[in-house]
């Protein structure tokens, strides 16, 4: 069943065309990885999906419904940022609990219980009382994942979730994401971690100059890249 359908997305910044007519379908439970050179429009695409950017034209439906209410849309779509963007004045628990408490009307006890469960799920059970400044980058990003999950989204968006991390912390974040996908979460992940893509993606899309120019399951994507520019991109990134 189709969870997300995007048709003809166009986004301009001034005269620059960042998205040049993007069509995208995502099935429920599907894990889609998107890669592509810097400036190709990957961030713009996923930011249009939860309307942090307003597309200039095109249509997006989620679960068949157009998103007339911004807040309702964003509650159903979780987002994880490259820079974590945790709230620095709140503990890990409060970071996760704040949205359910303020937006879903959960009591403090209920919201805290939800936060504890989610922190456990991202392997941070013992860290609930720490402020973000007391956590490593990898731990912060896992709190950010738990925070997004706290609104019980039907779709999770990740914008280069590991590119701000030291190499030794990338693995712990990717492991959480793999597990999330195995649990049936629908995900769109912008990343250059090709190991993750091979391991966890159902399909991989390649963006170039504001378009998705190739889209294929991992095996085909790596072994028979369906686009000449993708061949070059893979050569660069895999260091051939």
């Amino acid at each position: 069943m189709t969870l997300l359908q995007a048709r003809g997305l166009v986004k301009r910044f001034g005269t620059f065309v960042a998205l040049d007519g993007v069509d995208l379908d995502l099935q429920r439970g599907e894990r889609l990885v998107i890669c592509g050179p810097s400036g190709s429009g990957k961030s713009t695409l996923i930011r249009c999906i939860n309307r942090l950017e307003q597309p200039d034209s095109g249509a997006i439906t989620i679960e068949g419904l157009p998103s007339t209410n911004l807040q309702a849309l964003r509650r159903r779509v979780g987002m994880v940022f490259q820079q974590f963007n945790l709230f620095p004045n709140l503990t890990a628990r409060e970071n996760v609990a704040v949205a359910p408490r303020k937006l879903l009307g959960l009591s403090r006890t209920e919201a805290d219980a939800r936060a504890e469960t989610l922190l456990e799920r991202v392997q941070l059970a013992g860290h609930a009382d720490k402020l973000p400044s007391g956590l490593s980058g990898g731990q912060q990003q896992r709190v950010a994942i738990a925070r997004a999950l706290a609104m019980e989204p039907v779709l999770m968006l990740f914008d280069e979730p590991t590119s701000a991390l030291d190499p030794e912390m990338i693995r712990e974040v990717l492991d959480v994401m793999v597990e999330l996908g195995q649990g049936g979460m629908s995900m769109i992940v912008v990343t250059h971690e090709m190991g993750f893509a091979r391991r966890a993606a159902d399909r991989i899309g390649f963006m170039d100059q504001g378009r998705i120019v190739a889209m294929a399951p991992p095996q085909e994507f790596f072994d028979a890249p369906p686009h000449p520019r993708l061949v070059r991109f893979l050569d660069n990134i895999l260091g051939h």
Binding site: A72, R74, F81, N85, V98, A99
Partner: protein
Amino acid sequence: MSFDWAAFFEYLPRLIKAAGVTLQVSLLSLGLTCLLAPLLAMGRLLGPPPLRATVQAFIEVIRGLPPLVVIAFCYFALPKIGVVLSGFWCGVLALGVVGAVYAAEIIRSAIESLGKGQLEAALALGFARWRAVLDILLPQALRRILPPLTNEFANLIKASSLLSVISVHEISQVGQSLIFETFVVIEILVQMAVLYLIIIGGVSFLSRRLEKGLAE
């Protein structure tokens, strides 16, 4: 030259009474500032575009004027549109408005200095813009708001000395007329200085206590 203690104590009661007026004007205009500043800041940050532009223009105009001009405007121009206030209330209004535009800018810039990422994180969770600002950004900004705000409060109290031009019997007005009446200069200036220091010191002390309380 020697310090004339007899004169000092003779005029002290009148200046203490004037200090009461200074204190009243200051506290009332601080109250008005605290009421208006958040409204102006939120109007500027969250209002629909026409409101935002209006608030911004208002802030720019008041900030561009010397407080004395704002005071004179309230005193001489407002009656022409039917708003007649005593010098005292005119002073409260003028100082409260001046304080509020500066405080509003302090609040706004503290919130904006948090960076786009914090706002986007809150929006992405489903917070409406105004709730993101009030529930997520403002609590973070508070510790950046209070120190400059304390400063602004002190400026406000100092600016109350300008009310002497509209004959409010506060410290500066009473001190000046005493000096011209009696030619006792140094003793009265010392009294004025000490009284200002006590009032400003008291207000600074209280807001620092508040800062500490909020930091915990």
